[in-house]
Symmetry: C2
Subunit: 219 residues, 2 copies
């Protein structure tokens, strides 16, 4: 039995931090050596991790790290846009000053880090800090939406999204434009401008789309 932090948490951290190559087979018999426990314990942890989609499971084929896929990246981005637009607009309607305060605080923390990183290389030593602050900002953005189900779904999508970017070693994971984009999102939220907020969330994430989302047509 691993002490201090359990196997589930350790595997989770490693999976979202890119500690396994994309599409790698995750074999309990191998992993048990890394974590000093039994293969059954690893198997259970992997099942739990599949609940949030950071590993995939197929009967009689076992567990795998999800493949890096531009299609999947596009779909996860689309889902983030959908869920964050909805959650952010509902937060505007329901959140009040307390929510605005929390969002401002989250943004303050994030921008503080982003001002110290003008490039991906400069970000490297701050990556974990930035990563946490970025997630916190987006989670706070939808925090007052009034729906745990929406927040839970968003959290699952966000983890998979992040894992895809990290495993792809993508250039889009961090760009210097982030700082202005996050600022714009904050301002639109505080101005309670839902249309602008939707557009800015979309624009912030659109670099992760393989192609533009299909638009409404006149038939």
């Amino acid at each position: 039995m691993v002490e201090e932090t359990d196997v589930y948490k350790l595997l989770h951290q490693r999976l979202v931090a890119g500690g396994f190559v994309a599409d790698l087979k995750l074999q309990p018999e191998q992993l048990r050596k890394d974590y000093n426990c039994s293969a059954s314990t690893i198997r259970e942890a992997l099942f739990r991790l599949s609940t949030v989609g950071v590993v995939t499971f197929k009967e009689q084929r076992g567990f795998r790290v999800p493949q890096v896929s531009r299609v999947v990246q596009h779909e996860l981005t689309h889902m983030r846009i959908l869920l964050e637009c909805e959650g952010a607009c509902l937060s505007i309607r329901l959140g009040g000053v307390a929510w605005e305060a929390r969002l401002s605080a989250a943004h303050h923390k994030l921008s503080h880090i982003e001002m110290r990183a003008r490039s991906k290389a400069e970000l490297e030593p701050l990556f974990d800090l930035w990563s946490t602050a970025e997630q916190e900002f987006h989670e706070t953005l939808i925090d007052a939406c009034g729906s745990l189900t929406l927040k839970r779904t968003h959290s699952i999508i966000y983890q998979q999204f992040r894992q895809q970017l990290i495993n792809a070693d993508s250039d889009t994971i961090y760009v210097p434009e982030n700082i202005l984009q996050h600022q714009g999102i904050l301002e639109a939220a505080l101005d309670r401008d839902e249309d602008l907020l939707r557009r800015l969330i979309h624009d912030h994430l659109s670099r992760n789309l393989a192609q533009p989302l299909p638009e409404k047509k006149s038939w």
Copy 2:
């Protein structure tokens, strides 16, 4: 080992059919007797079921059937509206005549059943048939959205939604208005009228909302 159909499938069917009381503790040691296998096998199956949210898991507290909750019902309904509106509109844009044909076929099957059931009592002998056809109709509605991630997320939400209604023994699970509502949805889809389609999907599901969804305000 249970023959023919495995433990996972049997438990899944029972869970979405209301075969367990809401909020019931699901104890492997008890269930293994029903399914003639070991508690470990049950435990694994329950982990897999928690992936789609038809059981809940808490460390050191085990597995439970989700509680019946109007709040959760409301949130799942909200998610269905969000995902089905998005998926249906994308299907209009991407699906073409093949999709329209599949949707018409799915509707034909559903309406055939719904014409034979003017009340919940009349539906009783046809419930499984209707249930399958209803799910197929809604899944086909979003089938051409171009996103497996959206469809997978919808499927998870739909199963939880269905489980909530059944476990609540809700009066909203089937209403005679369904037939006209499904008809309207089909027609709006075939007319490629996205605004109307969104409204009709919302109206079709709104009886499962605890209160109206918050609307956009002028500030």
